[in-house]
Symmetry: C2
């Protein structure tokens, strides 16, 4: 019954009308008599004819495809962003294509040429890339891309680039954590991060240092090459092993929950109790964070909302004039047990408006 390469001409012939009429029936249901429309529809159904969106896109200069650029879909944060963005695009009749840009890579001309070649309707930059020493390099590349399609980023504004930016206030988020821990009585707090050149680490570190200084908390900075669970596990040995016990931090802020997962295990293997011996907080509330032992106090970045909002803006930019503004989302402190707040009667965090989960 259904043949694979039917065109609108075949349908038109079979229905005894012109291809234009078939097109009208299939697209904007306007200016076509009910009877002919009916006849056309029957033929369309009979052959299960599906118009070719490639051809359609060529003519309309709209591919109905959005590109999403991220380092790693296996990271639950990015998976959440992607999922929400995909859903939002889908509800607008568009699909998404994933373009992977390895962690700590720069966005090159070569990379964006793939996007341009495909004539996407827009590009969503989800972060994780590095910003070259000369910021003009990045903005130049992205401006080139912008001549072809609107851009929305899920990271802070890029110097020299006008577009919509929707992102979490990582600096402020870490400050909340430092403040929370300080109120719980911690005087010496470590930040376990990764020596990455992505801004997400830098912002967190900045917030950490600033708030530590403000609250007269002694900051301890510890960096690993990458922020994997395995690295988290081994990092605590290196960190604590390098310090006399008297100089140990009493709380650990870990750059993300994936790494915190490893940190918890490393501590367990060292025979340390959390939070009694040492408090631990994560930084991006993943699905597993409430199932660790003890459940992890962390920051909710609301990845789904970021994905949805940014995609919505991207679709909007495609249909109207591209705008340029920033929208900063406030991470929420999720207080569970790994920070020890439950040990202290929970008063400290409640004052700050954190959420107990």
């Amino acid at each position: 019954m259904a043949a694979a390469n039917l065109t609108i001409l075949d349908i038109a012939k079979e229905a005894g009308v012109s291809p234009a009429t078939v097109s009208r029936v299939l697209s904007k249901h306007t200016n076509v008599s009910p009877s002919t429309a009916q006849r056309v529809r029957e033929v369309v159904d009979k052959y299960s004819y599906q118009p070719n969106s490639i051809a359609r896109g060529l003519l309309q200069r709209q591919s109905h495809v959005l590109g999403i650029i991220m380092p790693d879909i296996k990271h639950p944060y990015y998976a959440s962003v992607f999922s929400a963005a995909q859903r939002e695009a889908g509800s607008a009749g568009s699909v998404v294509q994933l373009y992977r840009l390895a962690y700590n890579s720069a966005i090159t001309d070569d990379f964006i040429s793939h996007l341009i070649e495909r004539r996407l309707d827009g590009a969503l930059l989800c972060g994780g890339f590095i910003e070259p020493s000369d910021p003009k390099d990045l903005s130049a590349v992205l401006k080139h891309l912008q001549q072809y399609m609107p851009i929305v980023t899920i990271c802070p504004p890029i110097q020299g680039l006008d577009c919509v930016n929707i992102f979490p206030d990582l600096e402020g988020g870490i400050k909340k954590e430092v403040g929370h821990l300080a109120r719980l009585g911690h005087k010496r707090i470590a930040f376990i991060g990764a020596t990455q050149e992505t801004r997400s680490v830098g912002e967190r570190e900045l917030g950490f240092r600033m708030e530590a200084e403000r609250l007269s908390v002694k900051p301890v900075l510890h960096y690993e090459n990458i922020h994997t669970p395995a690295m988290g596990e081994s990092s605590v040995q290196r960190l604590l092993g390098s310090l006399p016990r008297s100089a140990w931090p009493t709380a650990l802020i870990v750059v993300n929950d994936l790494m915190a997962l490893g940190v918890l295990k490393g501590l367990r293997r060292m025979g340390l109790r959390v939070p009694e011996d040492i408090a631990v907080v994560g930084s991006d509330n993943q699905f597993f964070s409430e199932y660790t032992d003890p459940p992890l106090t962390t920051l909710d970045l609301n990845a789904e909302e970021l994905g949805q909002l940014s995609m919505r803006q991207l679709l909007h930019a495609r249909d109207s004039k591209p705008a340029s503004y920033s929208q900063v989302r406030d991470p929420m402190l999720i207080v569970r047990e790994s920070c020890g707040a439950s040990l202290s009667g929970r008063t400290a965090a409640l004052l700050e408006g954190g959420v107990y989960a």
Copy 2:
């Protein structure tokens, strides 16, 4: 410098050659003199001209886009499959589009019309969908799709459909687990699953029942509506609460590691020790499974390999004749601590060739 809507004609004019020559320079570098090629290249670079792959695809009937159909990219199993498939496609110059088909949904004509409309080069079915009561429904729909593009599945063969199927032997995998637990001395083992109509649950249950019977182990079946961590957490209360302590299973096989994550927490909250009081094993080795407390004994399905192999076959099917065969991958038993093997001197599992991690 770079204008957005340059076409091959503009380049041709500027270079003083015909569009055909520009096309030749850009595609198959054949039959064009070095000097003209050079001149064309200069103009192309000058304007950063990027050919429009939409137009290219229209003529060549190849979109260089592959579709991946899965229920939930946030599930780490699917994220791994997707990631590997994306990489494999990318190395062949193609991109992937995600099509989400909610858990427990059927593949309808309406759904595949989206794929056909886009004229994808192929479709990767990753499982998670239900098979309707009448199997002809499913095969009919997919046969329709096959008239437009090759299909590869990462699930067992679909009755009446000829295509490549690459999938893990879930039934055999669970049998390994039952055997492992039986050798550790367990006589009463529960299977915690979900009342889904997807085959992945059914196969596991089948393997469980068969092997339990063969080894004279008393099977206890417990079903929840969905297999989330939260459901896992509450399920143990329901399961154990419904049984007198003397009838409690001594080991729990959980349908997947996500749910097992919750099971471990539920047990913890009930004050039960794993594995001393009750053993727990998962079923699909996720990244977090080695960081649980205790680390989870589970089955490695090798999602990345499944994703890579299946995409490779899909690309192959696109370029040559579509084949039809099944390739069954053997899950690997990963023995960690939640099963209690370490308590028993590790002999049992070693005999079976499991891997200690």
